[in-house]
């Protein structure tokens, strides 16, 4: 198995990194290229950029961000938010992204996952899901999808998803730890890698998540501070997590 991965998540809107995150209001905190490069230097294994205000007008801005990130950063990164078609995804990959993440659009039209996998290969297709009480919610957590997390993860895999990015809405922002029960259930149900997301407050939480998932998404625990990523990596090594030496 490849080494466990730490993946800082940057929420972007109109070409800037914003905070307040996906389930609340937004405040601008920085430049995605600079922050992405700093995380890369601090030992990030991958990056995720989520366009949290994805609108048609902003697609061009997002592609510009992807192009600029690819120029500066030589580690893999995923882009999500507003990907609705194979063409959207291909544009992002051609600009230098390695994977695209789809969430609400895949719930609305599950065939999208198959289309993306056929065009880009499964390794480039991440199905992101936001889960509350075992149920998948769409549109940044605001709407019910009528699907269970395990059931949707299995279907996503069958349709060609190469990874599952699993966010617990209940744990997100609490800093009380990842939802290990949910993460474990989804990881046991699929054969593709699972990225745990939501709830990290300390190194122990991340270490626990990496026992059941192949990667951990890091958002509020880092507070957009690359130095925190470096210290977190050191703490995780002390806890016996075999992270990559960069």
């Amino acid at each position: 198995m490849p080494l466990p991965r730490l993946i800082p998540c940057l929420d972007v809107a109109a070409g800037r990194v914003v905070k307040g995150v996906r389930f609340r209001g937004l405040r601008e905190v920085g430049d995605p290229v600079e922050l992405g490069a700093a995380y890369s230097e601090a030992g990030a294994d991958e990056l995720v950029f989520l366009d949290v205000a994805a609108t048609v007008e902003q697609r061009r801005t997002l592609v510009d961000v992807v192009r600029a990130v690819a120029e500066r950063v030589a580690i893999p990164f995923t882009v999500g938010g507003g990907v609705r078609s194979g063409d959207d995804a291909e544009t992002l990959l051609a600009a230098g992204a390695d994977k695209v993440a789809v969430n609400s659009a895949a719930l609305a039209r599950p065939e999208l996952v198959t289309e993306l996998a056929e065009r880009l290969g499964s390794q480039a297709v991440v199905v992101a899901m936001d889960v509350s009480n075992g149920s998948v919610r769409s549109h940044a957590g605001t709407a019910e999808s009528g699907r269970g997390a395990v059931e949707w993860a299995r279907e996503a895999q069958e349709r060609g998803a190469g990874e599952i990015l699993l966010t617990s809405i209940d744990a997100d922002g609490t800093r009380n730890g990842y939802d290990l029960e949910l993460t474990g259930a989804v990881a046991a149900a699929v054969g593709v890698p699972v990225i745990a997301s939501g709830g990290a407050g300390c190194a122990r939480h991340v270490a626990d998540a990496l026992e059941v998932a192949q990667a951990a998404l890091l958002a509020s625990i880092l507070h957009e501070r690359p130095a925190r990523l470096a210290s977190l990596r050191a703490e995780l090594r002390e806890l016996g997590v075999a992270l990559r030496w960069s």
């Binding site: 490849p2 991965r5 030589a74 290969g121 390794q123």
Partner: protein
């Protein structure tokens, strides 16, 4: 030193291009005449091979290898260079290297993430198939990480996305070519 990257309608051409630019190499269009031809790869084998053949890259790459001129295959680019791949129900490859690509059957698939190669530096992998070839030269967790056959070098990992370790790998390849 100039490098031409085979574009065939899919793949991460730009990332590969940027990685070589960072090393100071020039990017050329002519796959036939460049000092180094790179066969990148992301996507599915059948579509990629159709794209390569439609653009005549298959013949150019074969001629290069026959003339002993360097070709670097990355990820799917290594798998396409083999004789056959199990992907998409079985597809004939470019046969620049003996062997075949087979679906990974252990661990989580796709195999995504950083993994050590020959117990040393970790590189980034993202694949569901891997080479089975007598030309293997480096390994990662029992999986072929690199194969060399004549003037062809293929790697299963993505040096262009493997941070400093990847840059060192590419710099070493470029250095060897410049000396040759």
């Amino acid at each position: 030193m100039n490098v031409a990257i085979c574009a065939y309608g899919a793949g991460n051409v730009r990332s590969v291009e940027l990685a070589f630019r960072r090393l100071g190499a020039e990017i050329a269009d002519d796959v036939e005449r460049a000092d180094l031809a790179v066969l990148p790869g992301v996507g599915s084998a059948r579509a990629a091979l159709a794209g390569l053949r439609a653009r005549g890259h298959d013949k150019v790459l074969r001629a290069r290898v026959e003339a002993g001129r360097p070709v670097l295959g990355i990820c799917l680019g290594l798998q396409l260079a083999l004789e056959w791949t199990e992907e998409d129900g079985g597809v004939e490859g470019l046969a620049l290297v003996p062997g075949r690509a087979e679906r990974l059957r252990a661990g989580r698939v796709p195999r995504i993430g950083w993994a050590e190669v020959d117990g040393r530096d970790a590189f980034w992998f993202a694949h569901s198939y891997a080479a089975s070839t007598p030309a293997a030269t480096r390994w990662s967790e029992g999986i072929v990480a690199e194969a060399r056959h004549g003037s062809f070098v293929g790697v299963q990992f993505h040096p262009e996305k493997s941070g400093p370790a990847g840059a060192r790998f590419l710099a070493e390849e470029v250095r060897c070519l410049s000396r040759a």
